[in-house]
Amino acid sequence: MDDSGDAAAIASCLNGHPEAYEAIVTRYQRGLFNVALRMLGNYEDARDATQNAFVKAYEHLDSFDPEQRFFSWLFRILKNECLNVLRARRPSQPVSLELPTARGADPVEVRERQHAIQTALLSLPTEYREVVVLRHFTDLSYDEIAATLGIPATKVKSRLYTARQQLGELLMEWRVAR
């Protein structure tokens, strides 16, 4: 389904057919859930945030500007949900990730690496983390990320560069500690 498919489903919802929203949820749930998971580092929190984002988007569908990409609008709602979760989270609350590992790889080492990068990601300030997440866990281009975040594409690139530098520094600590 392309963006015109979104438009048709949205129009249908606005005309009193809420069941048409299922196509939108089905289309975006994977991308949105993975964004939430990387932003929050916790499966349950990511599930709740994604679910709330979809429901809130539905409830405010009339305020969606069809000139925008639907994913961009959804992402902004999800980001607010994630920020709410992060604000409510106690600083000592542990992050629990149970992720699949690639076939053939040493699962212990792979998990250790994944945990290290995810932990480093969670240490980044939100404005850097969101750029990394959108770049690496969605198929958005720089321009689309810029439109989603409402910043120039040059700023997306500079934030991404700074974010990777910071991740590198955080991963140094992990490598030394190993």
């Binding site: 057919h17 809420p18 994977r30 599930r47 429901v55 539905y58 009339d62 690496r113």
Partner: protein
């Protein structure tokens, strides 16, 4: 060879990020979103609440507040002014006095109401719950309330089989044997994994006894849309208030009947 003190190269970080696997979203996510939307959409199906009722809802809320505030003020005046006056000759009738002092819906009870809650308060299910003591005992259990706020728990308890299995695993005074029910049903296992509150709730004899005895609870749990009200504090408070009013009314009726009987006996005795 990389030295541990070498700085990380940009491409190394990129590779590590790209190696993070994409994770499958929860299989019930779309279903949960759609059932939440369905439970919040008016029955006539005209969607987005925000579109069709934005202004109306604001106005309705204002009206609701005004009515609630007026009702509370009127109740206070009645309470302190002794209005309406008790008719002469009925001063000793307990029923009349109790009726005027029975708890009423106050502004605190209506603060979170919306159109769906109003609909629930007027439903048969609400009346059944307000008349069902076993259901009320279960609803008083905070862990049961918390468990039912979880979509996975509601999804599991919709199944009559799951409810039967819980009841079948009951151990007197100790809720259920959780190791037994965990092994019985995938939905139930998922619900137990998702909700620590469900573990605690199922250890409560009140909750399990209600599941075994309360028809109203079964009716509510059989629908994920209806079950959501069992985790809604305003809805539960309303059920409890209505149950209290029912009990006072019943007490007033029986006290009135007893007083009437005694008066009749006294009159008969005097005549003799």
């Amino acid at each position: 060879m990389t030295n541990i003190n070498d700085p990380w190269r940009d491409d190394e970080v990129t590779t590590m990020l790209n190696d993070l696997p994409e994770v499958e979203p929860p299989p019930t996510l779309a279903q949960e979103v759609m059932s939440t939307i369905a439970s919040r959409t008016p029955a006539r199906g005209i969607h987005p609440p925000a579109i069709s009722t934005k202004k109306g809802a604001t106005m309705a809320k204002k009206v609701l507040w005004i009515v609630a505030a007026s009702a509370a003020a009127a109740l206070l005046v009645m309470r302190f002014a002794g209005y309406p006056p008790v008719e002469r000759g009925t001063e000793a009738t307990i029923g009349a006095a109790q009726r005027y002092q029975a708890p009423q819906i106050s502004s605190a009870d209506v603060k979170t109401q919306d159109t769906q809650l109003q609909a629930f308060l007027q439903s048969d299910l609400f009346r059944q719950l307000a008349a069902d003591k076993a259901a009320q005992q279960a609803l008083k259990n905070k862990d049961f309330q918390r468990a039912l706020s979880d979509a996975a728990v509601r999804a599991a308890l919709v199944s009559a089989d799951v409810r039967s299995e819980i009841i079948a695993s009951r151990v007197a005074e100790n809720g259920v044997r959780q190791d037994a029910i965990r092994a019985q049903n995938e939905l139930l296992r998922a619900a137990l994994d998702a909700s620590p509150a469900l573990h605690v709730a199922l250890a409560s004899n009140d909750v399990v006894a209600a599941l075994a005895a309360s028809n109203a609870l079964h009716v509510a749990l059989a629908s994920a849309d209806a079950a959501i009200w069992l985790s809604n504090e305003a809805a539960i408070n309303a059920v409890m208030s209505a149950a209290a009013v029912n009990q006072l009314d019943a007490a007033a009726v029986s006290a009135g009947a007893a007083a009437g009987g005694a008066a009749k006996d006294a009159a008969t005795g005097a005549a003799r």
